[in-house]
């Protein structure tokens, strides 16, 4: 059903008829985020739920403090290596279907703190991220925009067939290995089954180290 | 229809189960549970006899049960307080261990 038609139908009070649409409609309109903030971006996340921006309009103000009742993990802020195992564990403890928004430069790539010893260079090394919001911090509107992007993504998901998303397949994992603390770095430093570069931006200067396993530990 | 004897039978059975709990378990809390069961068996008897008795309008059985509930509550309150108190000192709720550690 195309967007225009759907809007028209919904205006007339006729709603999504097929199971898939009902399912997606329900999921996308009731995304409860986990109360989970890490750093500066979390303040903007809070600001998003506040009166001026009011994320509640989308039915998403029900911030649940327990991962068991949450649908969405907004990784808002810097994920340090000390925090990463906790983040992964929290993600694992959320029930499917679960989504992740990586909010801010830090969550996507380590951001400004990338060059250092204690910051994880992107949470997507350990958990699958649905939507990335660049910015430092992204404006509250940007979070809402990302939220709408997520809704669109949910809306496009198929219920059956090969194209169905991860949480509907039984051959895909729903939890990911939790890294442990090593003597110099997290171990493993990334989850190779989850994290691989699919960039088409060919890097003019490849790193000398290549992409092999870290030499230490 | 429910004959009186089935009620009494149930009561006897309940009493025996409670009694078995008291005799065969060593945990003070379980013993208390057993006692509660026995008291309830007695209550059932009262009600049964009130229901099938000769003068139900006198309400004696009902009254007895009300009072019995009161007594049972008092018993439970003191009993459990005692159990906790003993536990605090002996770190166990097993009767025989409480005994053996006496002194």
């Amino acid at each position: 059903m195309d967007q225009q038609l759907k809007i028209e139908l919904s205006q007339q009070g006729i709603f999504a008829t097929t199971m898939e649409e009902l399912y997606n409609w329900g999921r996308k309109n009731s995304v409860w985020p986990l109360t989970f903030g890490l750093a500066c971006c979390a303040i903007e996340m809070i600001a998003t739920t506040m009166a001026r921006y009011d994320l509640a309009r989308f039915g998403a103000e029900v911030f649940r403090p327990s991962p068991r009742q949450a649908d969405l993990m907004i990784v808002a802020g810097t994920v340090t290596k000390k925090m990463a195992p906790q983040v992964v564990r929290l993600y694992n403890q959320m029930p499917e279907p679960k989504y992740v928004i990586a909010m801010g430069a830090c969550a996507i790539s380590g951001g400004p703190f990338k060059q250092g010893y204690s910051v994880l260079k992107g949470i997507d090394r350990y958990i699958p991220v649905d939507v990335h919001i660049p910015g430092c911090p992204p404006r509250p509107e940007a979070l809402i925009d990302a939220f709408i992007t997520l809704q669109k993504k949910i809306d496009a998901q198929a219920l059956t067939g090969e194209a169905r998303p991860r949480h509907l397949r039984d051959d895909t994992p729903s939890e990911f290995p939790v890294p442990t603390y090593g003597a110099h770095d997290l171990q493993p430093a990334k989850n190779p089954t989850l994290w691989h570069i699919t960039t088409n931006a060919t890097s003019p200067k490849p790193l000398p180290t290549g992409t092999d396993e870290s030499g230490r530990d | 229809m429910t004959p009186l004897s089935s009620c009494l039978m149930l009561s006897a059975l309940l009493f025996s189960v409670g009694f078995a709990g008291v005799l065969m378990r060593r945990n003070a809390i379980l013993i208390l549970i057993g006692i509660e069961l026995m008291l309830n068996a007695a209550n059932l008897n009262f009600i049964a006899f009130w229901r099938y008795g000769s003068a139900p309008e006198a309400l004696t059985g009902v009254m007895f049960v009300i009072f019995s509930i009161g007594v049972a509550a008092a018993e439970a309150a003191v009993g459990l307080a005692l159990i906790i108190s003993i536990y605090r000192h002996r770190k166990t709720t097993q009767i025989d261990r409480i005994n053996s550690m006496r002194g």
């Binding site: 564990r89 694992n92 403890q93 509907l168 | 229809m1």
Partner: protein, 126 residues
Amino acid sequence: MNSLFIDTYRPIAILMIAAVGFAVTPLLLAWLWSKKFSPRKPGAVKNATYECGLESKGDAWVQFRSEYYIYAIVFLVFDVEAIFLLPFAVAFSSLTVGASLAMLVFLMLLVEGLIWAWQKGVLTWA
């Protein structure tokens, strides 16, 4: 006797069944859904106890040190008192002042206990 019983309580029983149905049907539906579409994927970490994102340390079924039970004892006594007060209250309008006074004495006895507990600090938390 049975028929009277049934007359009185059958609606309640049906209501209870309906309530259970109200609770169980969606659970069943959810279960069916997960069978059909969205497979459940338990896992060691996923199904571990939640503890602020850390690995849970120690069992939760430990002994609690708390003073709640004092309140529970007081509550038990007052609950039983309510059992006596209810019939009294129902009969109140047809009772004489004397009978009411009997109840007053009963109440006073308990209030006395309450005041004693209050004075002794039993009701003071921690």
